[in-house]
Point group: C2
Chain length 257, copies 2
């Protein structure tokens, strides 16, 4: 039974898509079968995989509406994981699902048919707390919360933590916060060191914070342009090593249960 | 009659809040009367101003719902501009406004009573294309679109441009794209130079791109932590100069009309 992990944070630009992509690629390197789900209408993950979102007739939007199946939209990628792509259509799903019965469980219904085909299902979430985020939290076993090591990002997490508590209470009692993942850590600045310390101080022990820290590097932006994972584009930089370590920790843990 | 400018981009972490804050502070330096509107449930702008969002009983959320007035929530700040603060309550406004008559015009109704008290009203938007963004575009004269000089950010703008076209057609024919503002430009990397060139190449002349570029500097994150504008915290860095130049351009133009 595949483990479903939502990668989310209402704060924008903290490395959600970059984490979903590189963690997925690193898990595939460990021979784990991975499915990527792009749940963001701006389709960053779909773009990162080298696809043009506008070329898809059917995406996760159509599957959520019930007029297409997962098999029909599932795309194999050159990185190992399969992808359920998104495009701009997804921006209107929140208004359209509004009056649907069990509107928070639409993604759960959809993913239940493929859950056993994968070891991991990683969901890239958009930077907001709407119905799509609720759907992701309702279907997930775990949540990883990337936070960039800067002041405003640290302050922006409160909303998500409140939503997670509500979802655990009323929609998905299994949901667990797997951890806060510090990203864009610039070793050269005092601000990053202070913020990282503050993140550990403010959130632990109630919310775990990973020991793995993703270092800031321009290679990440470059690798997205190149359409490569950091694991091949700049395999020896500290950030690549951190994603591999994160993948090892998750797959070791999953294989225990 | 004050000019209303929305600062928005569905892509997260591109410098929307930082631009709203520092542009507002720079306009205040030029003796312009400015109102900041925080339209993001994560309340980054409210936090940047030094407030704790949880301490407010009433925010822009209550004004949009009609159970409070602007005068009641308006906060003077030490930077010059007044602020209409936000907090997490705002996250549910989209579902609550869903069945309201003229749901896209609620912000327009609210701001019409104070429009003549200010020279500029700057709206900090959240990173998504929901009903709040629609409200911001429906009430605005102009839109400034910050884009960080990195690949994924450049690709994430398509959704907003489509929404702007629809709003111009059906809700607000005066709406104009004031310009794309390149942010987080790291002069040391080839990636930033290439992306900036690509931004100008892809968007101009249909969509104007400001000549002012905001350079990447850790001083921005530090100034947010300190609760200071970049104009006082690091007044001589190129990024501070760029925000001053941008303010000069906007106020010169506004005083012409
Ligand atoms: N460790 C890192 N060091 C430097 N740059 C990074 C790092 N991780 C991601 N980036 C870059 O930062 C930008 C934001 O990352 P990304 O798009 O993954 O964030 P996000 O949280 O998914 O954004 P959104 O909120 O829009 O979904 C991208 O240009 C990406 O290439
Ligand atoms: N020119 C710059 N150079 C370096 N860092 C910057 C710059 N402008 C903003 N930042 C920092 O980058 C981060 C993102 O900026 P900001 O929060 O303003 O973006 P945003 O688009 O408002 O994000 P969101 O999508 O979450 O609303 C913040 O930590 C901020 O301090
Ligand atoms: Mg993303
Ligand atoms: Mg913001």
């Amino acid at each position: 039974m595949g483990k479903i992990v939502a990668i989310g944070n209402q704060k924008g630009g903290v490395g959600k898509t970059t984490t979903t992509f590189n963690l997925g690629a690193a898990l595939a390197e460990l021979d784990q079968k991975v499915l990527w789900v792009d749940l963001d209408p701006q389709a960053s993950l779909t773009i990162y995989c080298g696809f043009d979102p506008d070329t898809f007739n059917k995406t996760i939007y159509n599957v959520l509406k019930g007029n297409s199946s997962i098999d029909h939209i599932c795309q194999p990628t050159t990185f190992g994981p399969d992808l359920l792509p998104a495009n701009l259509d997804l921006a209107i799903i929140e208004m359209e699902l509004f009056n649907t019965i069990a509107r928070e469980r639409q993604l759960a219904c959809v993913l239940s048919s493929v859950r056993d085909d994968y070891d991991f299902i990683l969901i890239d979430c958009q930077p907001s707390l709407g119905l799509l985020m609720l759907n992701a939290l309702t279907v997930s076993d775990e949540v990883i919360i990337p936070i960039s090591c800067e002041y405003l990002a640290m302050r922006g997490v409160a909303g998500l933590l409140k939503m997670i508590d509500k979802v655990k209470l009323q929609l998905n009692s299994q949901l667990k916060i797997r951890g806060i993942l510090p990203t864009m850590f610039d070793r050269r600045t005092k601000h990053a060191h202070d913020t990282l310390e503050q993140i550990r101080h403010q959130f632990e022990p109630k919310v775990p914070v990973f020991n793995h820290v993703i270092y800031r590097s321009i290679r990440f932006a470059e690798s997205a342009l190149k359409g490569e994972s950091i694991l091949t584009y700049a395999k020896n930089i500290p950030g690549a090593e951190s994603y591999r370590n994160l993948a090892r920790e998750l797959s070791r843990e999953a294989n225990k249960t």
